[in-house]
Assembly symmetry: C2
């Protein structure tokens, strides 16, 4: 794995090709560094639309691009598909299966994964929504539940199959619950002969007294009302006590569910450890304002993995815009150091956040604006289409959305894979 | 699973929703029968384009539609997703896991699956290309081989990873080999830093002295020449002695291969057995000219599963047009019998056949025409787009093809699933 560019140039290793890692790589274009970009998958994932794959609106390829084709023209970037197992911070080595790679500078951008708060045994029963494999597993379970209901003679068992429970009332949970309700009420309305899909029950459960805690209270109320209009049962102030096979245990009742989706929490997996490395909530790595680890200034952390202090001193939230901006700043600071210049502290330019609930319904904060309803939904669609990487993806996603809008159909309702399992 | 239409009407069960089964269901529209259409998957697969999913040109959803959405408006059709385990011909029962279903008339249309000629142990080493799961597995192996080559330091091991072997020189094998050569020579040309993808070797092996035995000899020669221009090594008159992990054993040598695709044979799985049921080559069920089993005239066989005598007395080939026409005729004959009319014998209208080799290259027989080169390729593209079910699929497939034609890129280069396995 000899790097192709001049080996006298400093070697920067970027771990993770999400929003942070990819934007770091972009910032090194035509710069005097050798870059190795490592990811466990071969594709960059446009995570904000992942729930649309899980709910059969889009195909996997619509929101994923091969990493090496994205950076094809940057001849100083080598892409490796490999899982990084750990980092030897003293010898500056990134460790993979059977390989290790020396770095001069390291950017860690591995993001977060689903957290079950110490209950890893819930994972197979209630998949999260972080990777493409997760999205396809949820899609499979959702549509298999409807198929199983058509085969089921026992009305009680059938009704259990048609209960969908989403745990976690953040943007992912809200978007999943809204999409599931739309599938039952519109997409599948006339597709079954032995039951009425509109009788499906979708539950959205959160431990907090309100949904979307990162949004202004009023918008969260609008989102809740919109979900309830779609028929979603919003259950607040309610902590899940346990997940069993096909059952969500709440303090006051047992909720049977054919499909359970876990969107209640995330945790990072810090690849570096040591007494001099501070790990805070969600296992995020504490960095200074220039995005490097204080004790190891050659190691930068960008995106969800890092706990970067914001204006108020609290860590910035795990959002795509934060990751994009941090990736760029981390790379620029490395270039500044190579050129003997002073680093600049990271400054987050907050452009807002959005969540979509269903056709014609979304909520959003864009700068000073508070949007909801149709206008928020249109803004959401435009912003997300333009953030997608690649001309073709954009065009195909637009075609699919327009088609879905006109027909209320979903194009990717495929069940692929094991036939006998749930 | 009570049928919804009047239960005094005859009950027709169709097993398999491929070209034959689906077209049989279409023929029952607004007719006085209750129809149950059973398939092990929830989607109808447009099999002629399956190799394009295996080679990352199209997404699964582009060539697959949910069966129940296709027949949504036929209120007398119930769709069940279930695997049929067998048929009790005496009691007229279709047997599924935990369910059985009585029929008055039965149409068997389960098609064929990959045959390893008694060497089932080769299957995990050399997947076939019959289901969507197969196509995704091949796609995964192809792109993982290139990724593994980028990680590999040993030149000999790397070169083995970059050997692709396709066994079987029928249309599927020819199309796979052509597409693999194009991926290496064009799609991935600039994507790697440690090797040159154009140095990839693609082998197409067949036991016969020529490719495409169902085509006129001259067209087969053109196809071979076209493949060789793309850099495919065509190895004829050569029987594969064995498949081992990463090795295709030929009589005179051992061919190392990072990816092996098996397109050498198919076999049916007759769901009915008995002394009075004749099974011929490839386990196909012998039917009379009206498409029913002579000893069980209430059972019809349509598509690849049936051995229907053609004009020359030999069984008709396993082609999509045969299946489409047989499905329709089987259903029409059932309706004729219900109405007390005489059945009509099946007459195959041969509209020709085609195989595509790569960009601008195809061969085809359409009626009296023998086509090759660009014109055959354009005809192939038009025919296949128009045969696709659903307005949206057509539009999305056209967008993808035009984009791919303009850029030589492939949109669905995703590796999803197990990370550590081959």
């Amino acid at each position: 794995m000899t790097p192709t560019a001049s080996s006298e140039q400093p070697h920067v290793v970027i771990v993770g090709a999400g929003f942070a890692g990819l934007n770091a790589a972009f910032a090194f274009e035509d710069q005097p560094v050798r870059v190795t970009l490592i990811d466990q998958w071969n594709h960059h994932l446009f995570q904000p639309l992942l729930y649309q794959v899980a709910t059969a609106m889009l195909s996997p390829a619509d929101i994923a691009s091969p990493i090496r084709s994205i950076v094809r023209k940057q001849r100083n970037v080598t892409v490796l598909m490999s899982e990084v197992k750990g980092v030897d911070v003293h010898n500056r080595l990134v460790k993979m299966d059977g390989h290790e790679l020396h770095y001069d500078y390291l950017i860690l951008a591995t993001g977060t994964q689903t957290s079950y708060f110490g209950h890893g045994e819930w994972e197979p029963l209630a998949p999260g929504l972080k990777s493409m494999a997760d999205a396809l597993e949820i899609r499979r379970r959702v549509f298999r539940a409807f198929e199983a209901a058509e085969m089921e003679d026992d009305p009680q068992k059938r009704s259990a199959l048609l209960n969908f429970v989403v745990v976690g009332g953040g943007p992912t949970g809200v978007e999943m619950a809204g999409a599931l309700a739309e599938i039952a009420r519109f997409t599948l309305k006339r597709d079954f002969r032995h039951f009425d899909p509109t009788a499906t029950d979708v539950y959205l459960i959160d431990a907090m007294p309100r949904l979307l805690t990162a949004f202004p209270e009023k918008l969260a109320q609008t989102a809740q009302k919109d979900l309830e209009i779609l028929g979603v049962h919003v259950v607040l102030d309610t902590m899940v006590s346990a997940i069993e096979d096909g059952v969500v245990v709440l303090p006051d009742r047992r909720l049977e569910a054919g499909t359970i989706v876990w969107a209640a929490g995330v945790t990072a997996r810090p690849l570096v450890t040591g007494d001099d490395i501070e790990i805070v909530g969600q296992s995020r790595i504490v960095v200074d304002r220039c995005l490097n680890i204080p004790a190891h200034p050659e190691i930068y952390v960008a995106g969800d993995l890092g706990a970067t202090p914001g204006k108020d001193g609290k860590p910035l939230p795990g959002l795509a815009p934060v990751a994009i901006q941090e990736g760029t700043t981390a790379a620029e600071n490395i270039l500044r150091r190579i050129q003997g210049e002073a680093q600049v502290p990271f400054q987050y330019r907050d452009r807002g956040s959005m969540a979509t609930i269903g056709r014609n319904r979304a909520v959003g904060v864009i700068g000073p604006l508070r949007l909801h309803g149709l206008i928020a939904w249109i803004a959401w669609a435009i912003i997300h289409v333009f953030m997608l990487i690649g001309f073709r993806n954009r065009m195909v996603v637009m075609v699919q959305w327009i088609w879905a809008y006109a027909t209320r159909q979903r194009s990717a309702r495929l069940i692929i894979g094991g036939n006998t399992d749930r």
